[in-house]
């Protein structure tokens, strides 16, 4: 479970905090959704959870451990991140994108890392992409490669930032089915403004608006709630 306690984040030189004393729990589910429109604070929250931003005050706990107390290696083993723009390393092949961190950071031998990476790609159904470069694969394929790269560190949780922003309707559907299958092993948290996609893959979630929690619970209920014009 990811627990957020009284989280405030104010950007340097900003008057108002982007996250206003947020307290919320993400139970460990197959796929959990963090919803909200642009500017609602979703990405700021994601950056705080991923330790890219240090909260102004408050704390974040994963499975009852304060993430601020974890070592970098420990933390990255606990939580993986896939960026909205994926950020695959363009100068490296797909296989090398997957093996770089295990080899250089975690000390796995290159041949072991390659073996693990090929297994991972096969398991995710993209084994044929191993020797291609990021510029040579489609958006949907790149999305899967980015997830595979994150999964190489075997994290308990995986954060996906706007995973459908670059996908068309059909690819989104395929991706949803693929993710659902995969989520039996890893717990995914998707941060998205794509409500129909959220409904396809997640049962529970939270809805953020202007740096505050507006609704929590069943995704279908949340959608109903937020899609009704506020009276």
């Amino acid at each position: 479970m990811i627990e957020i306690r009284d989280l405030i984040y104010t950007y340097p030189n900003a008057d108002e905090p982007a996250l206003k004393q947020l307290s919320v729990q993400f139970p460990r589910e197959n796929v959990f959704a963090v919803l909200g429109q642009s500017g609602s604070g979703k990405t700021t929250l994601l950056n705080c959870i991923a330790r890219f931003l240090t909260p102004t005050s408050g704390s974040i706990h994963i499975d009852d451990r304060n993430i601020a107390d974890m070592t970098e290696l420990e933390f990255r083993h606990t939580l993986g991140v896939v960026f909205q723009r994926l950020n695959l390393f363009p100068h490296l092949s797909v296989l090398r994108n997957l093996t770089l961190a295990p080899e250089k950071v975690f000390g796995t031998t290159l041949s072991d890392a390659r073996k693990q990476a090929r297994e991972m790609l096969d398991r995710l159904g993209i084994g044929d992409l191993a020797d291609r470069y990021p510029a040579q694969i489609s958006g949907g394929q790149a999305q899967r490669v980015a997830i595979a790269r994150g999964l190489m560190l075997q994290p308990s949780y995986m954060l996906l930032d706007e995973p459908t922003s670059a996908l068309d309707a059909q690819t989104t559907q395929d991706f949803a089915a693929w993710l659902t299958e995969l989520s039996s092993e890893t717990s995914f948290i998707i941060v998205t403004h794509d409500l129909p996609f959220a409904e396809m893959v997640a049962s529970h979630g939270v809805y953020l608006s202007q740096g505050e929690i507006q609704a929590t619970g069943n995704v279908a209920d949340i959608l109903q709630q937020v899609q009704q014009p506020t009276s």
Partner: protein
């Protein structure tokens, strides 16, 4: 914020200026131990007084006089071939101990240095083309016409002062002047009567002396003002050489009726010697280019990183590096070379490699900075998400991408620097241009040898340029499709 940066920038400029002033220590002449060889400067391009003979060795009237003096005062002679227009500055800067290179004694020079007694006398003479289209028969008939003289020689000042209506054209050496007169782009030239006559004969040019000597001058040996002991030794040696007949013998050898400088006719330098000199010179050129490029590239990486996004403790390095890079890019390389050589007292080779090296650093640092800037910040975050530390991120993610972007402009830097090595001839490094000048001073074939040197440069730079444009095309077409 801006004001703060402006203030700290100005502070840096002041600090750097202070540092520079502190570094320009007056290069005083150390009292030389007598066993040390006497360093004698000459140009090696002033035949028959000093030039390279067919074996590629220094020879000539001045060289023989210098050796005779060395024998009398009991010291070996070490010849330093250097450019004429910086030769006095080199003496004052302690680059060598004296100049035995046919220097005329003038009041202006005598203010800076002490001259020995004259060791020969010569005079200024006007020479014109045999066709003489302007019908000039003396210097007084040259009003409004172009008359050439070698830059830095006394004839130039003499003409400026005494014949203000003559348009004086100054050139680097008599070789260029001969070309100009051959093409009749000047009416005539003024030079030493002896030298001029000898050169015209060597070069087989249709030039003739007209009118009497403009004036005669005394040729002496200058030493630094504080070097009184050496002056005394030289004067004593000159007296001995004159009284024991050595001087007469040397004079006979070069200017006696039956004497020619190098045997007979126009035999000057053999093709083998010329080829050897050019190849040796070009090897020096390439060595300087390679060494300074290596230094420049190694230094440019940290500088580029500091200029890109200084973080943590690197912030304090930003302004020093920025200032140095801007200063190097904003001042002529030639001035920097002369400064390193004379101001800092470095040896010519060290000054050349050092100056070109830090110049390469300045230009490459900017290229690397822009390469680093082109790498998306998301790449750094992605590496962080994979638990990579800053060094791992730089080494495996940021640098490989920045470097690919930087390769084509870096190759341009390589080409530019290779060509800049031509400048180091000025600080008397025996690279290919200097060797060519020495060859030309004897062969009188500037077009041929400058063209050969140009081709030598082109053979090196052309593949580099082709390689750069090929890489550029590949990167544009395929993006990062190859590791």
């Amino acid at each position: 914020m801006n004001r703060f940066f402006l203030n700290s920038y100005l502070l840096w400029l002041v600090c750097c200026a202070g540092l520079l002033v502190a570094m320009i220590k007056p290069a005083h002449a150390q009292p030389t131990a007598d066993e040390k060889p006497l360093r004698v400067a000459l140009t090696g391009k002033f035949p028959p007084f000093n030039y390279y003979n067919e074996q590629g060795e220094l020879a000539g009237f001045d060289v023989d006089v210098a050796n005779a003096i060395g024998k009398r005062i009991g010291r070996d002679i070490e010849f330093v071939a250097t450019e004429w227009d910086g030769i006095l500055a080199g003496l004052l800067g302690g680059k060598f101990d004296t100049i035995i290179g046919s220097m005329a004694i003038t009041p202006v020079r005598a203010r800076q240095v002490n001259f020995s007694k004259p060791y020969y006398h010569s005079g200024a003479q006007l020479f014109v083309h045999r066709d003489n289209p302007a019908q000039v028969y003396s210097i007084n008939e040259c009003d409004g016409l172009k008359v050439a003289a070698v830059l830095g020689e006394t004839y130039q000042q003499y003409l400026d002062q005494n014949y203000p209506s003559i348009e004086v054209v100054t050139l680097k050496s008599s070789v260029e002047i001969f070309e100009l007169l051959q093409q009749q782009r000047v009416t005539g030239f003024v030079t030493d009567k002896l030298v001029g006559s000898w050169q015209i004969k060597q070069a087989d040019r249709p030039f003739v002396p007209v009118g009497g000597m403009l004036y005669s001058e005394d040729i002496g040996i200058p030493v630094r003002k504080d070097d009184t002991k050496l002056l005394e030794q030289i004067n004593t040696a000159l007296d001995q050489i004159k009284s024991d007949g050595t001087m007469k013998k040397i004079h006979q050898k070069y200017f006696g009726l039956s004497a020619t400088v190098s045997g007979s006719g126009k035999s000057t330098m053999s093709d083998a010697v010329i080829a050897k000199k050019l190849i040796k010179g070009f090897a020096v050129t390439i060595a300087i280019a390679v060494a300074s490029l290596a230094i420049g590239f190694v230094l440019a990486i940290p500088c580029g990183v500091i200029l890109n996004k200084p973080k943590g403790s690197m912030v304090i390095l930003y302004w020093p590096v920025r200032t140095i890079v801007d200063f190097l890019r904003g001042t002529p390389v030639l001035i920097q070379l002369l400064f390193a050589w004379m101001g800092l007292g470095l040896s010519p080779f060290t000054a050349a490699i050092g100056t070109l090296g830090i110049n390469a650093m300045a230009y490459m640092a900017e290229v690397i900075r822009s390469g680093l800037m082109s790498v998306d910040q998301g790449q750094v975050l992605a590496a962080k998400a994979l638990a990579m530390n800053r060094m791992q991120t730089f080494r495996h993610v940021v640098w490989p991408q920045a470097f690919r972007v930087a390769i084509p402009p870096l190759m341009n830097c390589v080409v530019a620097l290779t060509k800049d090595t031509a400048l180091v001839a000025v600080i008397s490094v025996s690279e290919v241009i200097r060797e060519a000048q020495a060859i030309i001073s004897v062969t009188f074939e500037p077009t041929k040898y400058y063209f050969i040197v140009a081709v030598m440069f082109f053979i090196v730079t052309f593949p580099l340029m082709k390689f750069a444009s090929m890489l550029e095309r590949r990167i544009a077409q395929r993006g990062f499709s190859r590791d």
